[in-house]
């Protein structure tokens, strides 16, 4: 049952919480097409015309938003796992 010790599970707990908070926010910012994140989009070097660029950028924004939110969900799983490990470890030491 025990996969990792107390320090490892605490580390996993903290990173999971941080990951959930930050990835949800980042997903939100990608969803509202925030310009600050424009350099993190998977875009090509050149497009033929402006419309092609706009469609590609919009698609990239929404795609990144979904990616972030899915990663946040995976972090929820990690959070549950780490929390369970953490409580199990703290019960063992209490006993």
């Amino acid at each position: 049952m025990k996969i990792c010790g107390p320090k490892c599970s605490l580390c996993g707990l903290i990173i999971s919480v941080w990951g959930i908070v930050q990835l949800v926010l980042m997903g939100l910012f990608f969803y509202i097409h925030s310009v600050a994140l424009i350099e993190d989009l998977p875009l090509l070097e050149e497009y033929e015309n402006l419309d092609a660029f706009y469609t590609a950028a919009n698609a990239a924004y929404t795609q990144n938003a979904y990616n972030c939110w899915i990663a946040a969900c995976i972090y929820v799983l990690t959070l549950l796992l780490s929390a369970q490990q953490f409580y199990m470890n703290s019960r063992v030491t209490a006993n």
Binding site: I15, W18, G19, Q22, L23, S34, V35, A36, L37, I38, E39, D40, L41, P42, L50, Q63, N64, Y66, N67, C68, I70, A71, I74, Y75
Partner: protein, 832 residues
């Protein structure tokens, strides 16, 4: 709560205590922790002091407690932790009880241990005997018939006769350590000239040595020989090699019987051993409940007797006299403690306290609470403040986190620090109980308020720099607009947005978010952050120089204000303050919306070049259409400032020494008060020297009759140091720019090289890649940006405070107030 502006006023007191009330009075004083005793018996050997027998008694008790503690640890019983209910020092009746308890427990433990050793050796012998009996089965199968047991003495004359008659083989059986077998065999071979036959068989399971408990591998052997002499020799060799011999009957039936016998005896012995173990555990468990509190009581007792040894017995042998330093605000606490002590013992004659005057330098005591203690420690690490000197720790509470934040400015990292600090502060009661967290944990926990404040201020500077993990936040909408048409934008790779047309208005708070995406971000930020660093630096240094006025006023060195402070501040303000003024003026004067060409940004002169030209009285040719100077009469003003600045140098160099020279000559003819010179200026000012001469000790300067050449040289060194430091320290503040640039760039690199890869992944499946890469980015952020950069910024801030700020006014030649406090003693011992 004392004020942190300067250290507390201390009084040297004499205490007269009745001998019968001495122990309780000192106990009360130790509980309050307000006095620092002085040793009045310096020249007396420790072993000849008055209370040396009592100290020995305490040592004896401590030894017993330590012994019992080791026994408890051996058994693995946990000692309870007493945090809240710390017992007081024991009174004489309790001491006797304690001694009796400890005596009884110790003797019981020793007895149990001894019995256990005895029983274990018995057990070992019986076990070995059993092993011998079992293993020699094979050896005797052929010899059995001959019935040749040579160790069987009680068998009667018949056997002896048979042995002598036949002259055949006898044997001895025993057990020996496995390592010694070969040497044993060789020795037997040698002494018997090859006439001894040794058969051996190794025991698989190791046996435990009774004294040490270590498992030892042994071997069973049987040595066959012929003749009485050989038997004796063999027996001697066996004793030499520490082999244990056992009587082993050669007949099978006898052996069986013996084995059964031995087995029952072993069972009995095992039972007794386990019962002894149980008894021991029970005794230890009962003792362990009281042991920590006894330990503390004995420590307190010992501390009291050590302190009593510092006292002097007066001539009439009626009372004990002690000298101590007490903060003036705590005198009433000390009085109360003394009266409590006398009352506890029922003495009718009260002890009393007498304040005496002295010229010695008292210890420096800064009363701190849990918040200010961290900052005070930072300052004390550089040097304890001289008595009643202005305490820089008061300002450090805010300037330290602020300068840290200027170098660390990132909202994301600031939030991480803030959360960490907040967690430590909110759960400080629980976390304070952790005893063995390690040195690093102690450092972090001790600085929790510093970390909390650093995080808070970093959040603020992160907002101003508009930097969250190297991304900017567009809260109010950028004030830069794009005025180019579509075709220009599409055909040009790089475009410049001129501020006169593209910048509308001013971003309300902090940096405009568009700068994070601009190519010339670093050029812009460099100019901004460098100027900011110099402005902050000059302000900090001016503040430092002004602090020296507080010290001069307090120590009544009014002449120093005119001879040292005024030239110093003039020099700093007229040159570097003027440079700061130039920076602000440049920011206000030049605008892209100006119509008059010399006021456009292209014509803005470099502040540094202007400053250098000012110092060297040079001129540079300006660009076409521009003016060399920012305002009319700048040239004349600059020349005036430089001349005044140059005058300040000999003023600093010669002012004070000449003044000392003239006043010394005048003062020799004055009547000397108090029989000693307490400073340079005070008496010459015509003031009456106050009885508390410690205030006038001149902040521990005491230039008493220093030869004039020394005075001139000292002043020369101070002047050169100050003048050079104005330049070097001002430049040193540029580290505020350098570290903030490094932090921002590291943050950007980490995002672009790590997290960006995770964000540019294919849809849906890329989420897993993002999950992994995000974890890596988190770890790197924590390790590099928060820990490493945080420690780096902390270090540089500390340096700025210690060197650039405190060198302008701080002396730091005091010694710390170390009161006699039980709490400090017990906490200190626990740390060891």
């Amino acid at each position: 709560m004392g004020d942190m502006f300067r250290s507390e006023q201390m009084a040297l007191c004499q205490m007269f205590i009745q001998p019968e009330a001495a122990y309780t009075s000192v106990s009360e004083l130790g509980e309050t922790g307000s006095v620092q005793f002085r040793d009045l018996n310096c020249n007396v050997n420790i072993f000849q002091r008055k209370f040396v027998t009592e100290v020995r008694r305490c040592d004896e008790l401590e030894r017993k407690i330590r012994y019992i503690e080791t026994e408890i640890k051996k058994d693995g019983i946990a000692l309870p932790d007493i945090q809240d209910d710390i017992p007081r020092a024991p009174n004489p009746r309790e001491i006797i009880d304690l001694e009796a308890h400890l005596e009884k427990t110790e003797s019981e433990m020793i007895e149990l241990a001894q019995n256990e050793v005895n029983m274990k050796s018995n057990y070992l012998e019986l076990t070995e005997l059993r092993k011998v009996l079992e293993n020699t089965q094979g050896f005797f199968s052929d010899q059995e018939v001959l019935n040749l047991d040579s160790s069987n003495r009680g068998a009667g004359v018949v056997d002896e006769a048979t042995v002598q008659h036949r002259g055949r083989l006898g044997f001895v059986a025993g057990v020996i350590n496995r390592e010694r077998v070969f040497g044993f065999e060789r020795m037997l071979w040698r002494i018997s000239r090859g006439n001894v036959f040794l058969k051996r068989s190794d025991l698989d399971a190791p046996l435990n040595d009774p004294a040490t408990g270590h498992p030892i591998y042994k071997t069973v052997f049987v040595a066959f020989f012929q003749g009485e002499q050989l038997k004796n020799r063999i027996k001697k060799v066996c004793t030499g090699f520490h082999a244990s011999l056992y009587p082993c009957p050669s007949s099978h039936n006898e052996r069986e019987e013996m084995v059964k016998n031995v087995r029952t005896r072993l069972e009995d012995l095992k039972l007794v051993l386990s019962q002894t173990e149980d008894h021991r555990s029970r005794v230890l468990a009962t003792v362990s409940k009281n042991l920590p509190s006894w330990s503390i009581m004995v420590k307190k007792m010992k501390a009291i007797y050590h302190t009593l040894n510092l006292f002097n017995m007066d001539v009439t042998k009626k009372c004990l006299i002690g000298e101590c330093w007490v903060p003036t605000k705590d005198l009433h606490i000390v009085q109360k403690a003394l009266s409590d002590g006398s009352a506890a013992v029922g003495s009718t004659i009260p002890s009393f306290l007498n304040v005496i005057d002295t010229n010695e330098q008292p210890p420096t005591f800064n009363r701190t609470n849990k918040f200010t203690r961290g900052f005070q420690n930072l300052i004390d690490a550089y040097g304890i403040a001289s008595y009643r000197e202005c305490n820089p720790a008061l300002y450090t509470c805010i300037t330290f986190p602020f300068l840290f934040a200027v170098m660390f400015g990132d909202l994301g990292h600031g939030i991480i620090l803030l959360l960490f600090g907040a967690w430590m502060v909110l759960s400080e009661k629980k976390l304070a109980r952790i005893k063995n967290g390690g040195e690093i944990w102690n450092i972090f926990f001790g600085g929790r308020y510093i970390i909390l404040l650093m995080g808070l201020f970093s959040c603020y500077t992160g907002l101003i720099y508009n930097d969250v993990f190297s991304k900017s936040m567009n809260i109010f909408g950028s004030n830069w607009i794009n005025n180019y048409n579509t075709s220009t934008v599409l055909t040009n790779k790089h475009l410049q947005m001129p501020p006169n047309t593209s910048a509308v208005g001013v971003y309300p708070l902090g940096l405009d978010p568009i700068w994070q995406l601009a190519d010339n971000k670093i050029i812009f930020l460099n100019s901004f952050k460098m100027k900011l660093s110099i402005i902050v630096g000059v302000l900090h240094m001016v503040f430092g120089v002004c602090m020296s006025v507080c010290n001069f006023v307090h120590f009544k060195k009014y002449s120093s204000i005119f001879l040292e402070f005024v030239p110093q501040i003039l020099f700093l303000l007229l040159l570097f303050g003027y440079m700061v003024f130039m920076m602000f003026f440049k920011w206000f004067k030049y605008s892209p919306h100006a119509t008059f060409q010399p006021e456009t940004p292209g014509c803005a002169p470099s502040v540094l070049i202007m400053f250098i030209n000012m110092m060297l009285f040079k001129n540079t040719k300006p660009f076409v259409g521009c003016n060399e100077f920012m305002f009319d009469s700048q040239e004349g003003l600059q020349k005036t400032f430089v001349v005044i600045g140059l005058i300040c140098v000999p003023w600093m160099l010669l002012g004070k020494p000449l003044y000392i020279k003239f006043t010394r000559g005048r003062r020799v003819s004055h009547v000397k008060h108090n029989g000693e010179l307490t400073g340079n200026m005070e008496l010459a000012e015509g003031e009456t020297p106050l009885p508390t001469g410690n205030e006038q000790a001149g902040g521990a300067h005491g230039h008493e009759e220093e030869p004039m050449s020394e005075v001139f040289i000292h002043q020369g060194i101070h002047t050169i140091e100050y003048v050079l430091s104005t330049i070097s320290h001002t430049a040193s503040y540029l580290r505020l720019w350098a570290l903030s640039l490094a932090h921002a760039q590291l943050s950007e690199v980490l995002w672009n090289m790590v997290l960006s890869l995770g964000l540019k992944m294919p849809p849906y499946t890329g989420a897993i890649g993002l999950f992994v890469i995000f974890g890596a980015w988190c770890l790197f952020t924590l390790a590099i940006l928060v820990m490493m950069e945080g420690l780096s910024a902390f270090l540089h801030t500390l340096r700025l405070h210690w060197v650039e700020f405190m060198s302008k006014f701080y002396e730091g030649l005091g010694y710390a107030f170390q009161p006699f406090s039980f709490k400090a003693i017990i906490d200190g011992e626990e740390e060891e």
